[in-house]
């Protein structure tokens, strides 16, 4: 879903996007407070509604969770995690979706020009026109978000409702949330909100409460408040996500070296010819050096 009125900061398999440098667009972010999420799944329903996704058959995994994992037709999933903690049970609900990384691993891995773009406001989006469905982005994503769509043969994921955001609306999931645990605004504002909430939680006895905005991927377009901030893995979040080192090596080291090597080989062959010329058959007076004329 490409938003025509947003400039593009980064584009897959491209040297640059389309930033004119004339417009100042603030980076946007979702705010997710896992401590006030009641697991009502209104955001899941709103996501399906707004994005016209087909109904996916639910799958029972022994909890209230709709599906075991994200799906090409299910971009927003509340994960219901249970943990034994301090002699009791903690029930940790987290809204799982694309994190809209500042440094997106999917975009780095993508080989199709313009198939994954990062808009000037930070939203990372798949452009189905250009997507070739190779699945490289799955390998690049540290959050295991992009999904292959069997019918379309393209990748699909949360768009952060870029079509709504680009005309000044909040994303559908945010609009549907009844508790206010989901908020939307500039990243700056959402960080203020998150810090205030973390302070509040810590004052109320949740000493390990923390903000999840992993800097390994340059920060994310989703600011998450965790009561157990020392255990992001309890929520199904990686502790220190990065664009995989092998993906960086593959795209930023091996690829340019390879281009140089191949052009170098062609130039080397020409250079060899100019220095050494053809290897001539000696004794040209021999009759048999000429090609036979049958």
């Amino acid at each position: 879903m490409s938003a025509q009125n947003l400039e593009i900061r980064r584009s897959s398999a491209s040297v640059w996007g389309s930033l004119s440098g004339m417009r100042s667009v603030p980076v946007v972010s979702k705010y997710i407070d896992t401590t006030t999420c009641i697991g009502c799944k209104a955001c899941e329903a709103a996501c399906i509604e707004w994005n016209d996704l087909r109904r996916v058959a639910t799958e029972q995994i022994g909890s209230y969770q709709t599906l075991p994992t994200l799906h090409a037709e299910y971009w927003n999933l509340i994960r219901f995690n249970e943990r034994d903690f301090d002699g009791g049970l903690v029930w940790l609900m987290r809204k799982d979706q694309c994190m809209h990384c500042d440094e997106p691993g999917c975009l780095a891995a993508c080989p199709a020009p313009g198939a994954i773009v990062q808009y000037s406001n930070g939203i990372v989006d798949v452009n189905p026109d250009q997507c070739i469905g190779c699945g490289y982005c799955e390998t690049g994503c540290p959050f295991d978000v992009p999904r292959f769509h069997q019918t379309t043969g393209k990748m699909a994921k949360c768009t952060l409702c870029v079509d709504r955001v680009s005309v000044g609306l909040e994303p559908a999931c945010i609009k549907a949330c009844p508790t206010g645990c989901l908020q939307f605004g500039t990243k700056e504002d959402m960080l203020v909100l998150a810090h205030r909430r973390v302070d509040q939680l810590q004052a109320n006895g949740f000493k390990t409460a923390a903000l999840y905005d992993p800097q390994g991927v340059g920060g994310t377009g989703v600011v998450t408040v965790l009561a157990h901030g020392d255990h992001p893995d309890w929520y199904g979040l990686p502790a220190d996500p990065h664009v995989p080192l092998l993906v960086k090596f593959w795209k930023s080291v091996l690829r340019p070296l390879g281009v140089v090597a191949i052009f170098g080989a062609v130039i080397g062959a020409f250079a060899h010819y100019t220095k050494f010329g053809p290897k001539k058959v000696k004794g040209a007076s021999d009759s048999d050096t000429n090609l036979p004329d049958a």
């Binding site: 469905g133 593959w250 090597a261 080989a265 062959a269």
Partner: protein
């Protein structure tokens, strides 16, 4: 000297249909028709793989995708052409395997001997049908074809394997292809511009006596029965 040939047909070409390592007039049959067809199958599928794979590798070659109707077409057909490339490579491997065993004096071909050869300084009267460099290339491309197949199969079905394995597959596929492409640039150069008379062994199937005496002296003696010059 050879079998009865139809009128207007060149005796050497007719002989090269099913025989090799034989002298016909002033020419020696170097590759019979089966060998040549297999080699051309490898060459053509390799070039098709390059043209469909390189635009996916880097946008510097995205213009190649237009030859096929776009990147998505390349993405669909590249694995299938890759399979054809591997199958022809496997055929070529078994077709030429018996001639490709290294001899003790060919050890230096991985290093100094190769550079001597490229400077036209090597003068080895014991070079048989294939020199050490050709044998190195044979084993290298056979291994590379296997590596490209295995990593390529993973890339064809990315959701069937762990992510870390997939990352290695992408790196291995690209690294192998880069080495392969560099080697093939020189292979084609040596077989055409650098060593005139060689290309005929892949078209007519024949080379001249003088060519054989220069490049493959021991093979020349074996085929013609001539005694060594010294």
């Amino acid at each position: 000297m050879s079998t009865a040939s139809p009128r207007h047909m060149d005796a050497a070409v007719v002989t090269a249909r099913d025989r090799e390592d034989v002298l016909v007039g002033n020419e020696i049959v170097r590759h019979n028709r089966a060998s040549r067809l297999i080699h051309w199958a490898v060459a053509i599928t390799f070039i098709e793989c390059l043209l469909t794979g390189m635009p996916i590798w880097t946008p510097a070659f995205s213009w190649m995708a237009h030859l096929y109707g776009g990147l998505s077409v390349c993405r669909v057909i590249h694995p299938w052409i890759g399979l054809a490339f591997f199958l022809s490579s496997a055929l070529m491997f078994f077709q030429w395997l018996s001639d490709m065993h290294f001899e003790p004096n060919e050890k230096g071909w991985l290093g100094p001997k190769l550079f001597q050869y490229m400077r036209y300084e090597s003068d080895d009267s014991e070079v048989g049908k294939y020199n050490g460099g050709q044998k190195v290339l044979f084993w290298a491309v056979s291994l590379a074809a296997l590596g490209l197949l295995l990593s390529g199969l993973l890339m064809w079905f990315p959701r069937s394997f762990p992510k870390l394995l997939m990352q290695f597959a992408y790196v291995i596929h690209d690294f192998t292809f880069i080495c392969f492409a560099v080697a093939i640039v020189f292979h084609v150069y040596l077989g055409t511009a650098a060593e005139p008379g060689t290309f005929g062994s892949m078209t007519r199937g024949t080379v001249t006596r003088a060519w054989a005496r220069l490049h493959h002296p021991r093979w020349y003696r074996e085929v013609t029965g001539e005694k060594p010059a010294r």
